[in-house]
Symmetry: C2
């Protein structure tokens, strides 16, 4: 609203986000948020009006930050790739890479993905509307790209591949939260992320009958 807003509001937004991501809307009090942000409880109401509004703003902020827009962009220039299987394969790999950045980020905090998953599990009408504007179109566009890569698929079949991609990545967001209590679980280091990328790429390229790029063939020995 105001042009030169001080940092307090942003600090509150980030702090609240991290806490919400870990414990959910009901699991965090505005007292805890204010304490961690070294701000005052009343400041939250001053800047956001209410706890619910703060949560909504946090979710909106995170949704916009982790948004995946590549599919939409690719659909504006389909003639560049749709008829060439090698380019289709490259397009699919790019989509996987973008989606992985959403959940295994370098650029933004790790808890963004957790908050996103939590938002899915605790929907409200307002959140649903927000998601309908931001997430649903993005996913529909990914599904459309997949269908262009393999036109023989039905809409539902293509959707299954989108769900496979999203499901596996979402699964790791969960597991990471849970892993702290299960000692032997592996850590999500860069090596693991690379393994997941290769797994998803092979899986989708095979499923969409696209050729595997050389870089994915290395350790792909048939039995």
């Amino acid at each position: 609203m105001d042009g030169a807003a001080p940092a307090t509001k942003d600090i509150l937004l980030e702090t609240a986000g991290e806490l919400f991501a870990d414990a959910g809307l009901d699991g965090v009090s505005i007292r805890a948020i204010a304490k961690k942000a070294k701000a005052n409880i009343a400041a939250i109401h001053y800047h956001f009006g209410s706890k619910d509004n703060l949560y909504m703003e946090v979710v909106r902020h995170v949704m916009n930050q982790i948004r995946c827009t590549l599919a939409g962009e690719l659909l504006t220039r389909t003639e560049e790739w749709r008829s060439d299987p090698m380019r289709c394969a490259d397009v699919v790999c790019q989509l996987i890479e973008e989606r992985m950045r959403q959940f295994f980020p370098d650029a933004h905090p790790r808890w963004y993905g957790r908050l996103f998953m939590r938002m899915l599990l605790n929907p409200t009408p307002a959140l649903g509307k927000l998601a309908e504007e931001i997430i649903v179109p993005d996913l529909d566009q990914v599904t459309k790209v997949f269908r262009l890569c393999k036109p023989s698929m039905t809409e539902t079949e293509a959707r299954c591949w989108t769900d496979t991609l999203l499901g596996q990545l979402g699964h790791y967001v969960f597991s990471e939260q849970f892993a702290q209590y299960v000692p032997k679980k592996n850590i999500y280091d860069s090596e693991f992320v690379e393994t997941v990328y290769r797994h998803l790429s092979r899986l989708l390229l095979k499923g969409l009958d696209l050729p595997l790029p050389e870089s994915l063939k290395d350790d792909c020995f048939e039995e």
Copy 2:
């Protein structure tokens, strides 16, 4: 504890479970549980001691109900299938079917899966220990079966396939909760469940280099 316990305790368990599955531990008050179960607030403390204990008992109950034990059983008689690709394919399909019953159940209430996912997102040391005893071994055994089906895989690669299976099914548990606020989302009817089963079967069989059974080939036209 007592031999001929009346129904009240069980009613409380089921009622609390459904409410916890929808709103989480923090999202439900014991007053709401008592009201819906037509029981008294004090009865909850009498039977379970505390709200946290009630939650633990609910989770333990659900975990035992939706437990997947087929992989463990298959591992006791590997010589019957491991050397025959067709039988390996059958084994994999059986594992998918069992796992789908866990999330798209006919036998038990739909909210079991939701509670399970919520438990993963809100871990506590006690829940972690419980999961370590029940879930982790089951999943390890599934991974072991996959490795026997395709011995050239590393442990981590095999784990990725387990995660693919679990992730996709978990993803639908989420989406179902969220779908009520996103009008155009499809309903999870039996036709959809069948589509998902075929999708996962093809995906895993292809990935594990196993033959596709006739029943999965019908609409599998190559482009």
